[in-house]
């Protein structure tokens, strides 16, 4: 069994897996990763089960010391990862040695990184999940975000290191202007036609109040027919609540299971990663699509992940050479890789 030590935890680093399903009827939030695509890719790169627990890192990365040889990968938002101070690439498998230190130099794009460890993170499974639910103080590592000095166990892995890379074309680019598709409902009839028109034709800005529970947006007020309160009902991942003030709140991984505000729509699963990687000040435009279209998009997403799995597991790097080039007086470090 391997171990990693948290030298500094960064802004917010937690253990998350696919989430806790089957317990929402008992008031237990689903939790789990915010960016489900990055999470699965991270695990594929280190040959884990796709839904295995990883570290979810937010905005300011942690410093982690390895007490054993490990195979890791870093995906999602680019927070400039470094091993022993030297830049390493995102979206590929990396071998680290005993004593190595992983750190992050700063936010380049997106805001949430995912670190997968071959073998997976060993924390107790509570209600069928390793996800941390901080408000309920359970799951993950002692039910909380990581702190200085925490020692986490990494399960033994049989995997032999091979350099795996995700082909560039599959890696999402995170923008500051997001186009997000939604399926309208369930409380469509609580809004005036004008209200729905406002929602679909205006730009909304991510405010400072955005965390694992929800994202509050600012923008044009959405008009209700007759008040914003309903008798509490269920809330899904990506549900868009419109309280009395008329501004949207997107409900995220740590959302409560039920709530009493009208919901105008739900962000489609394939676009949730955009919200997960959004920062205060980013702008969102919503576009309505039908539930059937959303389900077709989800199928395409699954096919995309299968292709990534196939391509990055088959594309093995057999040799690599580094060159130092100077073109028009500017220097470049170039790496040439031969793939099988």
């Amino acid at each position: 069994m391997g171990k990693i030590k948290i030298i500094s935890p960064g802004f917010l680093t937690t253990v998350q897996d696919k989430g806790r399903y089957g317990y929402q009827q008992f008031g237990v939030p689903a939790s789990g990763v915010m960016d489900n695509f990055a999470h699965r890719i991270a695990n594929i790169l280190v040959e884990n089960h796709e839904l295995e627990a990883v570290l979810e890192v937010t905005m300011l990365g942690p410093q982690i010391e390895f007490h054993s040889v490990e195979i890791i990968s870093i995906t999602g938002g680019d927070l400039s990862p470094r091993i022993n101070g030297k830049e390493v690439s995102m979206c590929r498998s990396i071998k680290v040695n005993k004593g190595d230190v992983l750190s992050f130099a700063g936010m380049k794009s997106g805001c949430r990184s995912y670190i997968a460890f071959s073998g997976g993170i060993e924390v107790p499974v509570i209600m069928e999940s390793k996800s941390t639910y901080m408000k309920g103080r359970f799951g993950g590592y002692e039910g909380r975000n990581l702190k200085v000095g925490d020692l986490l166990n990494i399960a033994q892995s049989e995997t032999v290191f091979k350099e795996r890379i995700v082909p560039d074309k599959y890696i999402p680019k995170y923008n500051n202007e997001l186009d997000v598709r939604v399926v309208l409902g369930p409380q469509t009839e609580y809004f005036t036609d004008k209200g729905i028109e406002t929602f679909l034709s205006n730009e909304y800005k991510v405010t400072n109040e955005c965390d694992r529970m929800g994202f509050r947006l600012d923008g044009a007020e959405i008009e209700h027919v007759d008040g914003a309160d309903i008798i509490s009902d269920g809330i899904g991942f990506g549900a868009i609540q419109i309280p009395g003030h008329g501004k949207p709140i997107i409900m995220m991984a740590d959302r409560q299971t039920t709530g009493g505000y009208t919901k105008i729509g739900n962000v489609i699963s394939a676009d949730l990663y955009k919200i997960a990687q959004a920062k205060p000040g980013d702008k969102i435009k919503f576009k309505g699509i039908s539930v059937e279209e959303a389900q077709d998009i989800l199928k395409e997403e699954e096919e995309k992940i299968s292709s990534i799995k196939k391509e990055c597991l088959s594309k093995e790097i057999i040799s690599s050479k580094k060159y130092f080039l100077k073109i028009n007086g500017k220097s470049y470090n170039v790496k040439v890789e031969e793939v099988k």
Binding site: Q25, F26, V28, I126, G236, G238, A239, N266, I268, A294
Partner: protein, 246 residues
């Protein structure tokens, strides 16, 4: 209750079956019946369900079943609901030690309503309360049907810490705090039962659609039950709820 049940989309992974827009035992019993009927049918594409006051949220896997196919399945099931045997709801007894340090606000409640403390206990423990839904925090039951004779407004200054198991009153609502949390309810007693324990086989004790009944106990009994809970040897008392009008 609506004349025709509403089926509403909630993203591409869930739909909501809405039976009405009121808080009523009749509508809530429909929610419970539908949930049991779906469970019995064992529809493997359904991931889980969230029952609430007047609706049932059905989370499903769209890679296995499309919206329209699921909709048809559920509508058929709803039309056959009368022919499906739905077991009577259960009543779970909640042994409760009233007053003293366990229920420091019971005298407030008595004074506010102009009745003696023993009358507060009698009124509070004589009813079976429907668990309309569970939400807010893990295991928190939304109970219905409290007697107006003991209704009391919330505390002016909420407490910063209320220990799990505390039984309280807020307005014309009664409830139990599953875990330690801040709160403004008038505390009238405490149960040694653990409504929520992450490490138990069934982490949450209560289930929406069932009922609870508070049973007054003394301190000796409280300590005895507390020990049994710790040893995992406590036997919960439950009985079937009689159906009204039969």
């Amino acid at each position: 209750m609506y004349k025709e049940t509403k089926y509403l989309t909630s993203g591409e992974k869930a739909l909501v079956i809405e039976f009405g827009d009121k808080i009523s035992e009749e509508i809530n019993s429909k929610v419970r019946s539908m949930m049991i009927a779906i469970e019995k049918k064992n529809i493997s594409e359904i991931v889980e369900m969230t029952p609430t006051y007047r609706s049932l949220m059905v989370h499903y896997n769209p890679l296995e079943i499309g919206y329209n196919s699921l909709l048809n399945k559920l509508k058929t099931l709803e039309s056959e609901l009368d022919n499906i045997e739905i077991p009577l709801p259960k009543v779970i007894e909640i042994p409760t030690l009233y007053g003293g340090e366990y229920g420091p606000d019971i005298e407030n409640v008595a004074k506010h309503n102009g009745i003696p403390v023993h009358e507060v206990i009698k009124v509070h423990s004589s009813k079976e309360y429907l668990i309309y839904m569970i939400g807010f925090t893990p295991g928190f039951p939304y109970l219905g049907g409290m007697d107006e004779r003991i209704a009391t407004p919330r505390l002016k200054t909420p407490r910063t810490k209320i220990s799990g198991g505390s039984v309280g009153i807020a307005g014309s609502q009664t409830g139990i705090y599953p875990i330690d949390s801040p709160g403004g309810w008038q505390l009238i007693g405490k149960t040694p039962l653990k409504l929520y324990d992450a490490h138990r086989d069934t982490p949450i004790l209560l289930q929406a659609g069932n009922y609870i009944k508070f049973v007054p106990i003394d301190e000796e009994e409280y300590i005895k039950i507390e020990k049994e809970i710790k040893k995992n040897s406590y036997e919960y008392n439950t009985y079937p709820k009689e159906r009204k009008g039969i």
